[in-house]
Symmetry: C2
Subunit: 208 residues, 2 copies
Amino acid sequence: MPRQVDHDERRRQLTEALLRIASTRGLQAVSMREIAAEAGVSLRVVQYYFTNKLALLESGFTELGARMDRRVKQRAGAAAGELTPRGVFAAVLGAILPFDEQSKLDSMAWTAYYTAALTDPALAAVGLTLPNALEDFLTVRLTAAQQAGDVASDRDPRTEVATLLALANGLTASVLGRQRSHEAAVAIIDYHLDRLFGPAATRRPPPD
Amino acid sequence: MPRQVDHDERRRQLTEALLRIASTRGLQAVSMREIAAEAGVSLRVVQYYFTNKLALLESGFTELGARMDRRVKQRAGAAAGELTPRGVFAAVLGAILPFDEQSKLDSMAWTAYYTAALTDPALAAVGLTLPNALEDFLTVRLTAAQQAGDVASDRDPRTEVATLLALANGLTASVLGRQRSHEAAVAIIDYHLDRLFGPAATRRPPPD
DNA sequence: ACTGTTAGGATACGACTGTATCCATTCGAA
DNA sequence: TTCGAATGGATACAGTCGTATCCTAACAGT
């Protein structure tokens, strides 16, 4: 088994082991040896495929960001063609909230990383730079919806989008802390979207 | 200096040293020896006044909650008599957002604690149980404002309050992560309050 | 078949962790 | 004045941490 190992695959396995630990026992429970045990390999292997613990942590952060991005793009992409603007927002925001076991675990890990990045410049460099893309995307969408007459003209699209994203983050934190159920969080988002778009149906009515 | 020491005062000093470390270098940087160094005492003293590290961490969590509570009560109390309902909400939500250096440090520590509590049952028992009081308080206020005609009748006070608190939490996270300035966060809150109460002035007009 | 690189097992190092113990003060009460 | 509790300095212990080193296989290219 020695020669010719797929390094990327190996690193992926180790990164997933890391995220499994981080999401269930927290980032402070992540150690080289724990990752090795979780992945079923020896400590040397972890050392071999990642030069540093920092490189390992960065890999986990990046993977987490990629997962979030994938989830949002997937939902938004599937919804873009057939739904109303409101449906697109519901899909994207619903993808941010933890909606199943895996996304809840990922949100846990993400929260742990985000918090660690607040006091660790090395992690901040990796993770606190990217999240403007989603805000821009939604702002473009909302502006278009407003020009199409689906949203009242006195709304400020940029502020509305910022509000929705911050709200989704706040709700995510409360869901993770078991202060609110997933359904309650979705209900709050829906309530807010009702006021933004008007209490319309989710699906666009078929053209007559 | 030996005999007759004020234990509560000692514990307060040590707790503050702990929070200073947690808010600037993160909760994982908090160790018995670091606290001792920060407080300018020996390791033994830390051991003497706190049986456990857990007891120490719990003390920090509790103190943090007390500080938040104090801040909110102070602002809300000062505002209750002379401001409009909207002014009360602005005051309370403004007290949740980090508005100066100290409250920003406290928010940092709080975030670290909250995240740690998500994966540490011992901390969860201390900190993830209390925060309903503020929600109830604000809901009562908003319901009253609605009955007085200051808020449109089709709003649901409980949902509106939940939204505002989750929004404030989400905005706090973004401010701590330097993705938004404090002023930008306040502007978003104000924008939201404008829609809830109508774009009225902050101060209640004098009775004629 | 030989050789050098790749892949990992085994182990060790120094630093740091929470906790425990031993001991010397110092003061209040008797 | 004596004694015992309160206070805290000094040190030790057993783990765990990230990292480094040593060494042995196994394969690819020659």
